[in-house]
């Protein structure tokens, strides 16, 4: 409770939370108050912003606001799903290795290091590129989650292996708890605040990764995402036509979400880690 009150008094956290709240509002509020159809043409291509269409239209004449709202939702979905997958995978592998120690730990660490040195963006591009059909948002999120869990695993392993030598773990052992009981009741609760921070960071990097591969034209086929909008804008000469409304708003949104999540993460680290508290 005290931590939360402390957090609410941190300017960085407030800025991050406000920005994140704003982006969430943009993603979820407009469909409630106006009719938006991201697949409906409303005018000519690249119409500049007007009172009716606040951010003009894209190369097909579809309302940009509708596209942005849909794209933002997809990007958030991919980010959160990738964040959940990466955090869960990394946590399970890290905690188990860190607590068990010995050969199991060595094997899991070797495996983690192996995945860590493979540049994940290239793997993502190759994986997405190799799939001609069925590239969905969910599949992209799974790809991202499966390639970015490594550093979570490393960080969690370090924490778990320091926790395993603590007295409360020794007491749990002589109380007769097995590995699962100790990991879930006596190690994970101590890592919760840390894992929450890791999840936020993984979500931010998930959103950025999705934008990158979508911008390269390797994103999901069946839905609109912020990266997809950028890709369409580049391919359809929005830059040379001076149609800034086709690429500038998605760029701003991606930057704002990633910035908000990073700022929240940094300010939380300052609170949860007393050594960084001034």
């Amino acid at each position: 409770m005290k931590l939360i009150r402390h957090l609410l008094r941190t300017p960085g956290f407030l800025v991050g939370a406000t920005l994140l709240g704003l982006t969430l509002a943009i993603a979820f509020l407009p469909p409630l108050v106006m009719s938006l159809d991201a697949y409906q043409r409303v005018g000519l291509a690249y119409l500049p912003p007007t009172a009716e269409h606040w951010l003009g239209t894209d190369h097909l004449g579809i309302d940009m606001v509708a596209l942005l709202v849909a794209g933002l939702r997809s990007s958030l979905y991919v980010g959160f799903l990738a964040g959940i997958i990466a955090t869960t995978l990394g946590t399970l592998i890290g905690v188990y290795g860190g607590y068990k120690g010995g050969l199991i730990d060595d094997l899991l660490t070797a495996c983690t290091n192996l995945f860590l040195v493979i540049p994940s963006l290239i793997v993502l591009i190759l994986l997405s590129g190799s799939l001609q059909e069925g590239r969905s948002l969910t599949l992209i999120a799974v790809f991202i989650g499966c390639t970015t869990w490594t550093w979570t695993a490393r960080a969690v392993r370090a924490q778990a292996s320091s926790l395993r030598s603590r007295d409360h773990v020794a007491l749990a052992r002589i109380n007769g708890y097995g590995t699962l009981g100790i990991v879930f009741l006596h190690i994970l609760p101590y890592l919760l605040s840390y894992l929450f921070m890791v999840f936020i960071l993984q979500t931010a990097s998930g959103i950025l990764s999705e934008s990158v591969i979508s911008m390269l034209g390797l994103g999901p086929y069946d839905s609109i995402s912020l990266g997809n909008l950028l890709n369409q804008a580049i391919r359809n000469e929005a830059l040379s036509d001076g149609a800034w409304w086709a690429f500038f708003p998605p760029m701003v949104l991606i930057t704002v979400i990633a910035f908000a999540l990073y700022v929240i993460n940094t300010s939380m680290e300052g609170i949860f880690n007393p050594r960084l508290r001034k």
Binding site: R166, D167, H168, A170, L171, A172, R173, I174, N175, G176, Y177, L185, H186, P189, Y190
Partner: protein, 268 residues
């Protein structure tokens, strides 16, 4: 009185940590016996290996080499370590670190029943927890719904002892149980330990850096230095005519008032 049958028997017991050049022996070639119903103190400075040795007796650390027998059988003879922990239990130095801060004290005391293949009924568990709390002079309502950080250090140390009253083991490894509490609580803790010994006819391995304290409570004292047992004997023999410079150093380090007591006081 200590009996003649052996509780622990260690032959050339060693425990190493690290590999290669960083390999360090925490316990180095220790050979000793501990009899049933005996109180043995492991005395030494920080980092001398006394806690690692205690953890090996608890079956929390595996020896790297050598042999450790518990009641005539290798300590890891039973596949299920819970069999060992039903007989051998421990009290730790820092009670705040020994309890999980996320669960209430009462639920953690009840967790001790995990050791039994068949857990008693809910009512019996509650009753046994209440009795154990009363045994360490804590009224059960006083800790109802409380978490470790809401109790004082002395109270928390008594919670560790209440655990022992619940489990009623035959052997207790007490790892510096008095070093984190004030002098007043220390006397109380020692009193409870003696009460436990009387009630349960316990064997106690008392880990401490305070040779004065060890003198008062133990039947025998082992002096540890850099992983080796450099001296072992009765408290009188060890304090009156120490053979090792380490023991002399430990004796020199106790405050002078205390030292006079050792010279004068008849042993309890």
């Amino acid at each position: 009185m200590p009996s003649d049958s052996l509780c622990f028997e260690a032959n050339h017991l060693s425990r190493a940590f690290g590999h290669g050049r960083r390999r360090r022996l925490a316990v180095n070639d220790a050979t000793f016996t501990i009899r049933e119903r005996e109180i043995v103190s492991l005395v030494g400075q920080s980092g001398c290996g006394k806690t690692v040795l205690a953890k090996m007796l608890l079956r929390l650390e595996k020896p790297t080499s050598g042999q450790l027998l518990f009641r005539g059988r290798p300590i890891d003879a039973a596949a299920d370590p819970r069999e060992h922990w039903r007989q051998v239990q421990a009290v730790f130095q820092d009670p705040y670190a020994a309890f999980n801060q996320f669960f209430s004290i009462r639920s953690q005391l009840k967790a001790a029943f995990h050791l039994f293949p068949q857990r008693p009924s809910e009512r019996e568990m509650e009753e046994r927890v209440d009795q154990a709390l009363l045994a360490v002079n804590i009224r059960p309502p006083d800790i109802e719904g409380k978490y470790p950080f809401e109790l004082s250090g002395g109270q928390m140390q008594r919670m560790l002892l209440a655990r022992i009253f619940i489990l009623r083991p035959q052997v207790l490894i007490a790892d510096e149980p008095t070093s984190m509490v004030d002098a007043c609580s220390r006397a109380g803790i020692l009193e409870y330990l003696m009460k436990l010994k009387e009630e349960l006819q316990m064997t106690i391995v008392f880990v401490t850096h305070d040779i004065g304290l060890a003198y008062y409570v133990s039947d025998r004292i082992f002096i540890l230095h850099e992983g080796q047992i450099v001296e072992q004997g009765t408290p009188d023999a060890v304090t009156q005519s120490p053979t090792s410079p380490v023991t002399r150093q430990l004796l020199d380090d106790i405050p002078s008032l205390h030292r006079e007591w050792i010279g004068r006081a008849p042993r309890a």
